[in-house]
């Protein structure tokens, strides 16, 4: 088969589009985890973002209100998590799981009236440049603003954590809340902020699914992407750039296996379907194999409650 160079460009563009929700949710969760909080409610926050975005778009007709509303909804639901784990010092794992179950349930309840309504078209940028450069045009142009934001986010996150003072504070809180507290940092405040930020990014990831990627609302439409995002954070050893790689591999293999099926490659379909999960795990294990580095980059107080006694 002669491979058309624009065809390759189209495939890469599809892969990038499918990686967007994973990158957004993972980068949000990464900040939360870097501050020492393990929030397993990613799936729940995403689905809340998905229904909120879709509902607001349908009711108000404004895409801007819908996108920010979805982020706000993510913030609101993560506030519940923050209050429980930081103020009432509940267990992170149990609370996070509860958040996911809660999110799926309440989104279904809100969503009852929004089933079967078509979404609105979301504007794309630089569409006029779509046929200018072979291979690169479909990759670079004609995407939504959220798409570009998602691909900038890992780099912004990396810079934020490494080079800014606030980033340093977040890491300090995650590594040793006691020392940070002794330095006069309000640990609880920092963790609240990081949890809410994670909620906002998960809300945006959900809104991307229900408003841009597949503009509609159906129950459970996040389909487990929240759990994959969580896994990506761990396998990336809390490094945002590796999240980008992991998300691309995962999204890429899903799409490539569909292409292989359509071309008629004689490999058992079940194997192809399982491939994205297997390869993502193998690759991430390989790139994060250095156990000393893992120990160094894992937030030391991850998942542990901090209670300042005085």
């Amino acid at each position: 088969m002669i491979v058309d160079i624009n065809f390759v460009g189209l495939i890469i563009a599809s892969i990038m589009a499918s990686a967007v929700p994973l990158i957004l949710a993972s980068c949000g969760e990464l900040i939360t985890e870097r501050s020492g909080v393990l929030n397993l409610g990613v799936e729940g926050m995403m689905i809340i973002g998905a229904i909120s975005g879709f509902a607001l778009m349908t009711v108000t007709g404004s895409l801007i209100i819908a996108v920010f509303g979805a982020m706000l909804a993510g913030v609101l639901i993560s506030t519940i998590f923050a209050f429980l784990t930081q103020t009432l010092i509940t267990n992170h794992v149990a609370t996070g799981l509860a958040l996911t179950i809660f999110g799926i349930g309440i989104s279904a309840m809100i969503g009852k009236n929004f089933v079967g309504i078509p979404g609105k078209e979301f504007p794309v940028l630089f569409e006029g440049l779509k046929d200018t450069i072979p291979l690169l045009s479909p990759i670079l142009f004609g995407h939504s603003i959220v798409f570009y934001f998602a691909f900038a986010l890992p780099f912004i996150t990396s810079y934020f954590l490494k080079k800014t003072k606030i980033g340093l504070i977040v890491r300090a809180v995650g590594d040793s809340p006691e020392s940070a507290s002794n330095q006069g940092i309000n640990v609880r405040f920092v963790r609240y902020a990081c949890i809410l930020y994670g909620g906002a990014m998960c809300g945006l990831a959900g809104a991307y699914l229900s408003m841009i990627y597949t503009p509609q609302w159906i129950e459970n439409m996040t389909g487990g992407r929240g759990w994959i995002a969580l896994a990506l954070v761990v396998f990336s050893t809390w490094n945002p750039i590796k999240i980008l790689i992991g998300a691309m591999i995962f999204g890429g293999l899903t799409i490539i296996q569909f292409h292989m099926q359509a071309i008629g490659v004689r490999i058992p379909v079940q194997f192809l379907t399982a491939l994205p999960y297997i390869v993502t795990i193998i690759v991430l294990v390989v790139i994060s194999r250095d156990s000393r580095k893992i120990r160094l980059s894992t937030p030391s107080s991850l998942g542990k409650s901090f209670h300042k006694d005085n």
């Binding site: 279904a108 009852k112 089933v115 990627y213 597949t214 609302w217 129950e219 389909g223 569909f258 099926q261």
Partner: protein, 356 residues
């Protein structure tokens, strides 16, 4: 002692409740058991539309959604049978054994199982729809409308229902256009909008200009709309999701059957039977045809629809060969229901192997 008191209190309450129900409610109560959420806008959603038709006909209904096809199903069925329901519809293939098991324990309650074949007790009936008749129409349209001669087909799971659909679709498409090629992609899901959209995108990128689907969400028709190719709605009329792409939809219309069966219980005329209705009985409905279709094609489709309804045309009329060239249905014969129900081989012209 305490426990005993509580227990007898509860059981007398239950008894009282049951007696009240028996005394007050002479009217028939129907229950529905769903595999998915009613918000899937697909399989379960359409069953729930049917349930609402029963409600509109003046009967009381209950439903339980998201019931796994396991021991949980038995528990739910017992609970429904115990709480005064006269007829229970179990709307997924996997409820076959639980339905028959619980039916034995409640001989006075009628059970209706969708898409199954076991009727072990006189109070169990089965019903299904001949969706493949709808796919004959879709194949005819796809074969006529394609310009690239490549038709994409997003499939869910390799079960007879889906294979039958692919075969029926391909046979019809080949009849109007012998040059077409049906490319099949298995998504291994009934609904995951993201995955379905990705599968459709892959087919479109590989040159398919008409996309058919046997998964439930509207993501595929929306993807087709974005890419400027044609598609068909599944389970419900999906035209409003993709006005330019959707040429027509095949709708699952359970309402009339449900109303019929509940009424039969009310009149005391209910009896066990196996129902497999198609276009003729209105269980499979073809939505309005898109105006982009040329008028001679529209006329042809309308005639085909009428002929399928009257039985003049059968979706599987011989000669039909399998992929290896073995004769499946002889010339002038049609496939019988037994063959259709167990169909697990592709017909000639379908590319690839069935996943095992």
């Amino acid at each position: 002692m305490h426990k005993f008191l509580i227990r007898s209190f509860v059981s007398s309450l239950v008894l009282l409740f049951t007696l009240t129900v028996a005394a007050v409610a002479k009217d028939v109560k129907a229950a529905f058991v769903y595999i998915g959420p009613t918000g899937d806008h697909g399989w379960t959603y359409q069953h729930d539309v049917g349930r609402k038709a029963v409600e509109a006909a003046g009967f009381k209904t209950t439903y339980v959604e998201g019931v796994p096809e396991s021991a949980d199903a038995e528990r739910v069925l017992r609970q429904l049978a115990n709480s005064g329901h006269d007829i229970i519809f179990t709307t997924s293939f996997g409820y076959m054994n639980p339905t028959n098991k619980v039916a034995k324990e409640f001989p006075n309650v009628k059970f209706e199982h969708a898409t199954g074949y076991k009727r072990e007790h006189p109070n169990v009936a089965t019903y299904a729809a001949r969706f493949y008749e709808g796919r004959t129409i879709l194949g005819t349209i796809a074969g006529t409308m394609t310009k690239s001669n490549v038709i994409g087909y997003v499939a869910s799971f390799p079960i007879p229902e889906v294979i039958r659909g692919i075969n029926s679709f391909t046979l019809a498409a080949q009849k109007v256009n012998p040059n077409i090629k049906t490319k099949i992609v298995w998504a291994f899901t009934w609904y995951d909008p993201g995955k379905e959209a990705e599968a459709a995108k892959a087919l479109i990128d590989q040159g398919a200009d008409v996309i058919a689907q046997h998964t439930d969400s509207t993501a595929i028709v929306q993807m087709a709309e974005k890419a400027g190719v044609y598609a068909f709605g599944q389970a419900s009329d999906m035209d409003k999701f993709a006005p330019k792409a959707v040429l027509t939809s095949v709708e699952n219309n359970w309402g009339p059957y449900y109303v019929d069966r509940v009424k039969a219980v009310a009149n005391g005329t209910w009896s066990q039977k196996d129902t497999w209705h198609g276009i003729g009985d209105g269980m499979v409905v073809i939505s309005g045809l898109d105006s982009q279709m040329p008028s001679d094609l529209q006329a042809k489709v309308k005639k085909l629809q009428a002929d399928l309804a009257s039985g003049k045309v059968h979706s599987f009329t011989g000669p039909i060969y399998d992929q290896k060239g073995n004769l499946m249905v002889a010339e002038g014969k049609t496939a019988d229901d037994g063959m259709l129900a167990g169909m697990m081989t592709y017909v000639k012209g379908v590319e690839g192997d069935i996943p095992k």
